[in-house]
Symmetry: none
Subunit: 204 residues, 4 copies
Amino acid sequence: MKTKEDVVQEFRIQSIQDATMRVIARKGMSAATMQEIADEAGVAKGTIYLYFRDRDELVEKTFDTAIRHLMARIDAALEMNVGFEEKIRAAMAAKVAFFSENREFFRLYISLRIPEGTPERQRRQKKTCQPQYRTSAQKLATVLEQAMEAGEIRRLDPWKLAMFIIEGSTAIILERLTQDSPGEEAADVDLIVSMILDGVRKRS
Amino acid sequence: MKTKEDVVQEFRIQSIQDATMRVIARKGMSAATMQEIADEAGVAKGTIYLYFRDRDELVEKTFDTAIRHLMARIDAALEMNVGFEEKIRAAMAAKVAFFSENREFFRLYISLRIPEGTPERQRRQKKTCQPQYRTSAQKLATVLEQAMEAGEIRRLDPWKLAMFIIEGSTAIILERLTQDSPGEEAADVDLIVSMILDGVRKRS
Amino acid sequence: MKTKEDVVQEFRIQSIQDATMRVIARKGMSAATMQEIADEAGVAKGTIYLYFRDRDELVEKTFDTAIRHLMARIDAALEMNVGFEEKIRAAMAAKVAFFSENREFFRLYISLRIPEGTPERQRRQKKTCQPQYRTSAQKLATVLEQAMEAGEIRRLDPWKLAMFIIEGSTAIILERLTQDSPGEEAADVDLIVSMILDGVRKRS
Amino acid sequence: MKTKEDVVQEFRIQSIQDATMRVIARKGMSAATMQEIADEAGVAKGTIYLYFRDRDELVEKTFDTAIRHLMARIDAALEMNVGFEEKIRAAMAAKVAFFSENREFFRLYISLRIPEGTPERQRRQKKTCQPQYRTSAQKLATVLEQAMEAGEIRRLDPWKLAMFIIEGSTAIILERLTQDSPGEEAADVDLIVSMILDGVRKRS
DNA sequence: CATGAATGAGAATTCATTCAT
DNA sequence: AATGAATGAATTCTCATTCAT
């Protein structure tokens, strides 16, 4: 059972992670200082270190928490018992919606795709953040593979296909987020799904 | 006429930019220090400042030089007097080939897509680096638009389409670069083009 | 009410400013490094930046604090309700005494009379330090003017007179400070006052 | 006999010293860089080192050359075969005139009065620049002493008197130089001499 | 637990000086 | 002799991390 302490603790952790995301969204990964994150979270700098070993861990865990939410939604979509097209549409809709609701996460999401810093730090980041991307992509690749076997889609390298779809859709989402009036989510989802399924070619 | 000094100067600038690209490729944008760049280039720290006002200018100019080469190749492909499919194929082949030859550039390319740091720096980076991406994307968007008008491809938002294509293909290239034995370039180009033109759907 | 933190903070600020003055007294304005000041104050380099934005502010505030003390003493003398001669004597005695007690301040006092460095820094220094000199001189000039109107002294340009008196007396104080055994303060005060009032000419 | 080379050499040295003085006048002692001095002189940085061992020597020699001119003029005045009052008036007139003609020298003159930097540098500066000040002051002190013995002026410490006169007059000259329209030189000379001779006191 | 003052390693940048041409 | 590109020591300032209160 959760004690009151546990609740307070979880709340603290969540506040700090939220603050981290907001600051990174504002300043970018490398310009986000512990001081600014602490201020944003309304706690003292030292407090952060009670819950996170160091800056790297803070960033990683923040990333991890957020991407789990994203993946949960996308997974739910991909695990629906429907045809491939519906799955993809649902997954893309989930992704677009998630980033609409969590604009702050986008910067972090982009920043951690490629590890930075000393070899040591790169290794560490690779160990904690890359798997998330990989798992995420892997799930999509599996769905693609199943669809191929079911004869619903063409036989192509499922992993590369997944990467293509993920980054292509991410680009359109980035475009949404940087626009002042992004327009209907549905329209972008349609575009993404349409591109994935049929490409650009005109057919009679 | 180029004097000997001009040649030496150009060579220095090139060496330093190359070193910059290698270090950024290794450590990432924010972890690339002037000292390490200098060491990599085989010059003293101070020497870099003879050719570049400050770190930001060094990075920008390095980026600028490299992306001009990339764009020149892609532009040449897109300006060929052939059908849309050939253009796209040539452009994607050019992109894949360029990054195969300039693996180091990739990190830099990815890093500068989203400005970082203080507001002042973000503004500066936006002014010098973003236009390059935009121009690059705009050119593709224009080609897409023309193809739409020519009835070669479907009518869709050309700008978003361009972003989708650029990032989707970038993802596959990133995949190539991180693999030990990336396989044939042609195969990846085929995959990219195939996805762009026809998407994943199977057709009888 | 002063909290304990306020006291500690004031103490820190005072220690750092004292150290600054000592180092400048030893090495001169431009050779006084943050590192040496920190060492002298017995704190880390970074600590100084907790209390002062940058080196310029440290120097300015240090100067400001010290000169306020000096001016307070001189002002008190000049505002006494006595004749001109007594005022001048008291003011000069105060000045001599102050610099005897604050030998370290002298270098700083001399250095900031004329702004140095980049135009930006010169402007800044002019804005913060010059007014102190000016105000100080202006007060003396006013006293001189009043004495002229009261018929106590001759009619001469009061501002230039003030400058003459200030720098002339400063010269004698500098002489005191560089000597190993400076002799009686009173003797120097007498000399200064005598010069100011009667000049060198012999009278029967 | 002077060879053509000697002439060229002297000219070079003079140009560099003039440039040094102008740059120091503009930026102040510590902000005057070798590069800016070289640019101002129209020579390459390296050239300066053909004529001066290092920056310190350049500054010292520049100072030395200029102050010799100043002292020559003042000495000439003080060695005239006239009464004390005329000597002093002539000397002060010479000083005011000199700084009017050599405004650039003023900054340097002020800067070197008190040695700066590492102990080593301070020692060196003391050895080369202080004697000039001292000699200059000593000469005045001697004249004062003679006047005392001749019964022309009161018996006071001649050295301190000299310092008082020198700095007091310097203050008025500084005032002249910082004003846009400094007014008649003669008026300032009168003021200085009047102060020196008679002080401020009104006499019936 | 929470705090935030203190720390000091590390980064960018400057500039006197050297030396090959 | 003159040059100015190259050097690297020295300086300022930042910021993740620690620890006494």
